[in-house]
């Protein structure tokens, strides 16, 4: 609610739809190696100055608590803030187009040479590397949201149900989710955690 005392760099003028598309396309094409939100922060707050830090963090909180890919959600929210619904469409399109085109092309290349033993050796090895990366993502995500022992129980319960007992994701999400939300239910007093 309180305005920051320090004078931040003034925001740039609201971009046109074309500039918005170009900006998101560039960010969508250069954000290699995951962690797109960091690239978005650099681009939106520092480079283009379309958003201040406070708004960025607020929109990021929304995009992370909803289903959907963080980067896509973030593009939609930022696009809507800047240019209404056409901005949301344009920003999401710009963000997804480079990666989606590349992966579409990858499917055609894969169809030609994917089961060649040399490419299989490469692809198996990057799949192994990707497991390492996703474990890092899990740990980083966990360090942000897991605050008490009960949270770890919910994590373990979800993972065991889905990965070992093949419970469909929506049931695990709704079942353990309801339990976890109830556990963290609003309380009138700051009593027991």
């Amino acid at each position: 609610m309180t305005a920051p005392a320090a004078e931040p760099a003034p925001l740039a003028a609201t971009p046109s739809l074309w500039r918005l598309f170009r900006g998101f396309f560039v960010m969508g094409a250069t954000s290699l190696g995951g962690g797109v939100l960091a690239y978005l922060h650099t681009g939106l707050v520092a480079r283009y100055r379309w958003l201040d830090d406070h708004t960025f963090v607020e929109l990021m909180a929304i995009s992370q608590s909803l289903p959907g890919l963080n980067a896509t959600n973030m593009s939609i929210l930022v696009g809507d803030r800047l240019r209404g619904w056409p901005g949301a469409v344009i920003a999401a399109l710009g963000m997804c187009l480079p990666g989606a085109s590349l992966m579409t092309a990858a499917a055609f290349v894969y169809g030609v040479g994917g089961d060649n033993p040399v490419s299989t050796a490469f692809l198996h090895a990057i799949a192994a590397g990707a497991v390492g990366l996703i474990m890092v993502v899990t740990v980083q995500l966990g360090s942000k949201v897991l605050t008490e022992i009960a949270d770890y129980v919910f994590v373990a319960l979800t993972a065991v149900l889905v990965a070992l007992f093949h419970v469909p994701v929506p049931y695990a999400l709704l079942g353990v989710g309801a339990l976890a939300i109830w556990w963290h239910r609003p309380r009138r007093k700051d009593g027991a955690p």
Partner: protein, 174 residues
Amino acid sequence: MKQLADLAGVFAYISLLTVGGGMAAFPELKQLTVDVHHWVTFTQLMHYYSLGQLAPGPNMMMVASIGAQVAGLPGAAVVLVAFILPTGLLTFAIGRLWNRLAAWPWRPSIQRGLGAVSVGLVLAGAIVLGRGALAEPLSWVLAIGVFALLMRTHINPALPIVASGLIGLGVYFI
């Protein structure tokens, strides 16, 4: 036409499960695309997923690969729209309602509760991927190596993944 409709249905459904990241939906993605519809093999799915880690932009653009393999360019387009539109509309609507929701006492409860579950889902995705990807000793070495490196440094994650691929190639030629 039936195939495009199936693709649209499956990917619209999967998109709703991507809480906490695309990986949360991986077990269901595998179940539907590999076991139910036989659009790709598990190996192909793993390969596309890992290639997707090297592509720029949102990390699940690999869904376009599945669409393209099944039904060419129209398949890729249908899958992308189906994958992005439902959650996109939801985000758009909630984004506009957010200020009103900010004072709702259950909002932090939902955020914290679903936060824990989404970590569990991402972990489950990692286990499903790992069961397929970690077969021979080399793959364990690569996975643990990438994990250890990325936990200690802040280098671009694409680098150790490409390096894993090159090591895999090197070992193949030796």
